[in-house]
């Protein structure tokens, strides 16, 4: 049995199909053939394909609508703008987050195009000139594969990137840093400040689309590169080539990609960023120029072309003079320095004036104005400056206060507070007033016992707490007492070595205790004998006889009770003439 036999209608349609009848009927009824119909059917069911199809039509439809005047562009435009504005206002970050990865490469490309164009101009302008230096550069260009212009520009820079900070944008916290030399600065504070400055600028100029990208700070510039989550700040000096900006951008982009999770979920833990030692290292750069001085690139090129090497020479002198004047101003502002006269002779600068020996030496200051020490001669006479900082320096130089003392200075008065030993305080009371600039001295000090004194006191206490007691009618030391005796001798010897005060010496009083009960006189005699015997033992053990004094003490006089027939000790310091 087959299915065909079961359903005659099916059988019929199959037959018609195979002979093309059905197709013919469909075409007559709908105007479409089968193939077209299945295509339409498919299109309607597949949402994506349908949307794609419509989207091709929509613009056309839209422009037709506008043309016919049925839709007015002027009414749509504000609507779209409003929506966009609203969305940006609600969450500006989302939009910039989306745009950042797309825009940055484009911007970068545009910038490097600019540089290329500039290099081209430089090329054509410079190739006409000639000098030995340029010849060298030209040779360098042949061997290095760089264009001549690139090399000229690279020789015009002298710059240094001193420090690079990676800062978490929202919190202003320092994530990582790299330094050109390893002098640690308050990087945490600097980065927080930078972020505060950035907040301030962005808040104050909200209307402008200006993004803070550089801050000038005297000799330094801070280049700031901002991403959605983090900021890269580079402290630079000199003429930094523009492609350094690209490096910052690329580094920052890379960090956004590599650390996107950590940046999003930052809770103050910076270990991940610190672990990556190479993170910022390539942003630390410097480039030295064969000449001594740095000049702005533009100015350099201009002068090379217009004035040639003579102009260049004049320029260099002018810069030097400018630096020198700046230097003199700030040197004159240094505490303890008065500049009276400066002049130049035979290419050498002279500085006359007064200088307190305690004021800062000019060497470092010269360096920060790009002046070579050997170009500047100082003819400074010494004087005592009365500037508070110098007076304070002078005082601490002279008085050498221990770490526990704080010196303060205010209108002619030196305040000394803290703890110090007696001798220092005594000495200081005499010397402090003689320091130039100090009229009155006010003390808020307490005495401190020195370590030595402390130790001595402990030893004396130990000796005075030692007691030897003897049996009735016997004078010998038990084994345990012998040990205690040895200790006593050792402590006593070390006390004798200890010269606490030049004008007094220690005396060991050997107290021998007895009682008044019974025959007081006999008791006293026995006690005296015991003391002498004990002193003999001590002499045998090596103590000098002259420092020991026997003394009999009646128990009745004692506050605390000691065993009868016992010996104890007392250390006294006496002046030798009282002996």
């Amino acid at each position: 049995m087959t299915s065909q036999e079961q359903n005659p209608m099916d059988d019929l349609s199959k037959k018609m199909e195979s002979q093309g009848y059905l197709e013919e009927i469909r075409r007559i009824l709908t105007g479409y053939n089968r193939k077209e119909l299945t295509q339409l059917n498919k299109l309607l069911k597949d949402k994506k394909a349908f949307a794609a199809e419509i989207s091709q039509l929509l613009p056309e439809a839209f422009s037709q609508l506008i043309e016919s005047g049925e839709v007015n562009l002027d009414t749509i435009q504000p609507l779209v703008e409003e929506t966009l504005k609203d969305s940006i206002k609600k969450n500006p970050r989302t939009l910039s987050d989306i745009l950042f990865p797309i825009m940055m490469p484009a911007i970068r490309k545009a910038v490097s195009e600019d540089i290329k164009r500039m290099l081209d101009t430089v090329n054509s302008t410079l190739e006409k000139g000639f000098s030995p230096k340029r010849l060298a550069w030209r040779i360098q260009s042949i061997f290095s594969g760089k264009t001549y212009g690139e090399i000229v520009l690279s020789h015009a820079y002298i710059y240094q990137v001193k420090q690079v900070f990676l800062i978490h944008k929202e919190t202003g916290l320092l994530l990582a840093q790299a330094n050109i030399d390893d002098n640690p600065t308050d990087a945490d504070l600097i980065s927080a400040m930078l972020s505060a400055i950035k907040d301030f600028v962005q808040d104050s100029f909200r209307s402008g689309k200006e993004n803070l990208d550089a801050i000038e700070l005297g000799n330094f510039n801070i280049w700031i590169e901002q991403g959605p989550k983090a900021i890269l700040a580079a402290i630079v000096e000199g003429n930094v080539p523009q492609n350094y900006r690209l490096l910052l951008k690329e580094t920052l982009e890379g960090i956004h990609i590599d650390f996107s999770y950590e940046l999003d979920n930052f809770q103050g833990d910076i270990t991940v960023f610190q672990q990556d030692k190479e993170l910022l290292n390539k942003c630390i750069q410097k480039e030295k120029k064969p000449q001594k001085k740095s000049k702005p690139i533009a100015a350099l090129i201009l002068i090379l072309i217009v004035l040639g090497s003579f102009g260049y020479w004049i320029y260099e002198k002018a810069i030097e003079k400018h630096h020198f004047n700046q230097f003199v101003t700030s040197y004159n502002n240094t505490q303890g320095v008065i500049v009276t006269k400066t002049y130049k002779k035979n290419g050498q600068w002279f500085v006359y004036g007064l200088r307190d020996p305690l004021s800062e030496k000019p060497g470092r200051l010269l360096g920060s104005y790009n002046l070579q020490p050997k170009k500047v001669k100082f003819k400074m006479k010494p004087y005592y400056s009365l500037s508070p900082i110098i007076i304070l320096k002078r005082a601490s130089r002279k008085l050498k206060p221990p770490g526990t003392i704080i010196l303060k200075y205010n209108s002619d008065t030196l305040f000394i507070s803290g703890k110090a030993n007696k001798n220092w305080i005594k000495e200081t009371k005499l010397t402090a007033k003689m320091i130039p600039g100090i009229e009155t001295v006010i003390f808020h000090t307490t005495h401190s016992t020195s370590n030595r004194q402390q130790k001595l006191k402990q030893k004396i206490l130990a000796i005075e707490n030692t007691v030897f007691s003897f049996p009735y009618n016997g004078f010998y030391l038990t084994e345990q007492q012998q040990q205690e005796f040895n200790k006593l001798i050792k402590e006593t010897k070390s006390i004798l070595k200890f010269n606490l005060n030049q004008d007094s010496i220690p005396v060991i009083i050997v107290n021998s205790f007895t009682s008044k009960s019974g025959n007081a006189n006999a008791n006293k005699r026995i006690a005296q004998e015991r003391a002498n015997q004990f002193i003999n033992l001590m002499i045998k053990a090596g103590l000098p006889p002259e420092v020991m004094v026997p003394k009999v003490v009646f128990e009745e006089k004692m506050k605390k009770s000691l065993p009868p027939r016992s010996v104890s000790f007392k250390i006294k310091y006496v002046k030798p003439n009282n002996l």
Binding site: L173, L189, A192, M193, A196, F200, Q202, G268, D269, I270
Partner: protein, 164 residues
């Protein structure tokens, strides 16, 4: 090391700078130098055997001339609202700033400091005012930057809250 940003908020002359200086440098000055913009200090404290670097953003006080910029508060892990016990209106300004800070920094820990407790006799903020604050669930600490009362405790308590 863990780092945390903490912001000092409050009306002018309530003692924000004094509190920070007392905590960071153990100093106090009677002289009043109003803060312009932000002054940032740092101090490393130990919380549960762990070093934490607190970056303290001491922001200028809010008055009719300068409003506090919300951007300064952004990213704070926690903040202080400082009031001056002797000036009642500093409480209202403080509460306004609290609302602003919570909007900007989100639901982060904060402590209300009522400062100048050494002048308790001249206080305009009363015990019932303070009760109202604590009843809202706020932590309140009465401090004196001048006499060093509860200053250290205030900072350490907040730091501890930040780490939980």
């Amino acid at each position: 090391m863990i780092k945390k940003k903490i912001t000092m908020l409050g009306a002018f002359a309530v003692g924000k700078t004094s509190l920070v200086q007392r905590f960071v440098r153990s100093i106090f000055s009677e002289k009043y130098h109003t803060t312009i913009g932000v002054k940032i200090d740092q101090k490393i404290v130990q919380i549960d055997h762990q070093d934490v670097n607190l970056l303290l953003w001491d922001i200028h006080g809010e008055d009719e001339f300068q409003k506090v910029k919300p951007a300064y508060v952004m990213g704070s892990a926690g903040f202080f609202i400082v009031m001056d016990g002797t000036r009642k209106n500093t409480m209202n300004i403080g509460l306004d700033l609290l609302a602003m800070a919570q909007k900007v920094a989100g639901n982060v820990p904060f402590i209300i400091l009522i400062n100048k407790s050494d002048l308790k006799n001249d206080w305009e903020i009363t015990d019932s005012d303070i009760n109202n604050l604590t009843n809202k669930g706020y932590s309140v600490i009465l401090t004196s930057a001048k006499d060093n009362i509860e200053v250290e405790k205030a900072f350490l308590t907040l730091a501890k809250k930040l780490l939980n």
